[in-house]
Subunit: 258 residues, 2 copies
C-alpha cells in the first residue's frame, strides 16, 4: 500500500529526535542534510483527519507547563506511578522534590530519553503487565490527557482493575482529560455522531501516530466529558471524588480507591 508506515516505536523515535533538537544530544533530523527540522507529532484519526503538533511540549520545563499540571503534581501523596512517563518531565520534577516516583511507558525509546535525563526508576510495559510484578503505589498520575488510556467502555474496567491491583489502601488516581463537546466544528461533531452510531463514546478516538517512517497500529484513545468519566468509573474499585475544571475544557479528575 502506497505511503503506508512501518509499525514501530513511533513515540520513542519522536521523543529521541525532540530531545536531540532541544539539547544537541544525538543526531537531529535535518532538512537538506543541513538545517534542523522541527519535530512534529502526527496523529491520524480513522475518518481521515490528520493533525500535526510540535513535540517540544513533551520536554517542557515546569515554567512552561499549563496550570493544571502544577495543580496535579501538588496533589500527589506517597509513592507515585507516572503512567505514560513520556520524556519524563513530570517524573523529573517530582524526583527533584524528593517524591518517590516510578515512570511507566510502553515506548522503549521514551524510556531511554528518560534515563538519559536522569529519571531513576523506570518500567517498560503496560499497567496490566506491571500489576503482575510491580510494587504498590499511593498515587497514579495520568497527565498529558491520559484519561485517553481508559480507551472506552470495553477497556476502562480492566485498566482501572490493573491500577487497583497496583494500589495501596487509600490510593488516588489523578487524571487529566479534555471535554470534547464544546466544539461546533463539524469535523469533530460529525465524528462524535459517527462514533455514537457505532456504539462508541462520542470522543472515543480511533487513532494512529506517525513519525518519519514509523506508524503505530490503530488504537482507541478516549476524550470524554466528566459525566462520561463518572459513568466509566461506576462499578469499578474506584470512585470519583473530585473534579477540578478551572481550565475548561481541560479537567483534573481525582479517583480514590474504595
Amino acid at each position: 500500500m502506497q505511503g503506508e508506515p512501518t509499525i514501530g516505536d513511533v513515540f520513542g523515535e519522536m521523543i529521541r529526535d525532540a530531545y536531540a533538537v532541544a539539547t544537541g544530544i544525538g543526531p537531529r533530523p535535518l532538512v537538506g542534510g543541513r538545517l534542523p527540522r522541527p519535530v512534529i507529532e502526527i496523529i491520524e484519526r480513522d475518518d481521515g483527519l490528520v493533525n500535526g503538533a510540535p513535540a517540544q511540549h513533551y520536554l517542557d520545563p515546569p515554567e512552561a507547563w499549563q496550570p493544571y499540571d502544577h495543580r496535579a503534581v501538588d496533589r500527589v501523596e506517597g509513592r507515585v506511578l507516572d503512567v505514560g512517563v513520556g520524556a519524563g518531565r513530570i517524573a523529573l520534577h517530582l524526583q527533584a522534590r524528593g517524591v518517590p516516583v516510578t515512570g511507566l511507558d510502553t515506548s522503549e525509546g521514551a524510556l531511554r530519553v528518560c534515563r538519559h535525563r536522569g529519571v531513576r526508576d523506570l518500567v517498560w510495559g503496560t499497567v496490566d503487565e506491571h500489576a503482575d510484578v510491580g510494587p504498590r503505589y499511593d498515587t497514579f498520575l495520568l497527565l498529558g490527557n491520559n484519561v485517553g488510556l481508559f480507551e472506552g467502555r470495553d477497556r476502562a474496567p480492566a485498566f482501572l482493575a490493573a491500577l487497583a491491583a497496583l494500589a495501596r489502601p487509600g490510593a488516588t488516581i489523578i487524571a487529566h482529560g479534555t471535554d470534547p463537546y464544546g466544539t461546533t466544528d463539524p469535523v469533530h461533531t460529525g465524528y462524535h455522531e459517527l462514533n455514537r452510531r457505532r456504539g462508541r463514546l462520542g470522543g472515543q478516538l480511533r487513532l494512529r501516530l506517525r513519525y518519519r517512517m514509523l506508524g503505530t497500529g490503530w488504537f482507541d484513545y478516549l476524550v470524554c466529558s466528566v459525566d462520561e468519566l463518572a459513568e466509566l468509573v461506576h462499578g469499578t474499585p474506584w470512585r470519583l471524588v473530585d473534579v477540578d475544571d478551572a481550565d475548561r475544557p481541560y479537567y483534573l479528575a481525582t479517583l480514590r480507591l474504595r
Copy 2:
C-alpha cells in the same frame, strides 16, 4: 480504507487557516474547541515517510525570508509571473516595489488569501493552461523550492515549453532548488536508490499533501542537483546561465530563453 483523506484543496485550506492564525481573520483551528492550534503542513512520501512542517513560513514578511529569496527578487526584470504564488509573500513584495507581477496557483483557497492580502493580479491554473490565454512575461519565479514543479524527465520538457510559450524574448526563469544528495540519512539515501532502480531521478519525490480531512492525489515533486537540472534543461528552449549556490544545499538557478 481506514484513515484515507478526501481529495480536495489541501494547500488552500491550510493557507486559509495559517492566515487566520496569523491575523485573526476567519475561524482558526482550535484544540478542545478553545485553544488555537498551530497550522502544520503534512507531507507523505510513497515509501511511508511522513513529515510535518509549520505552515507559517508561507506568510513570512521579507524580514523573515532566507537570503536567497531576497537575491531572487532582486534579479527580476520586466513583467513577472510568480509560479506557485502561495499566500503571496513574494508577489506582495514585488507589487510594493512597483514591479508588474501576476500570481499563478492551482489552489483556489491560496488565491483567495492572496486576494485578501492585496495581490492584484491572480490566475487560477497550471502554466500550461495559462500559456493558452495568458499575456507574456519577462521573468518567471519558481521560489519556495519550486524547481520541484519540473517533476522529472517526463514532465520537465512540457513544463519548460509552457513557460517558453508565455515568455517574451530574453525572458528568464529564476528557480529555487535544493541539492538532496548531501545527506547520509539512510531514510533518504535509500529512497534515492529505490528511485534510480525504478528509472526515476534520485530526488524525484512521489508525494501527497494532507491537511485536516483533505489530501491531494499522489504527485511527483523534484528535488535535484544542479547537474540534474542542467540535464533536464538541455534540449529545451531554455539554457542554464547562472547558478547561485551561496546557501548550499539550496541554490538559485537562472535559465534564459534561447
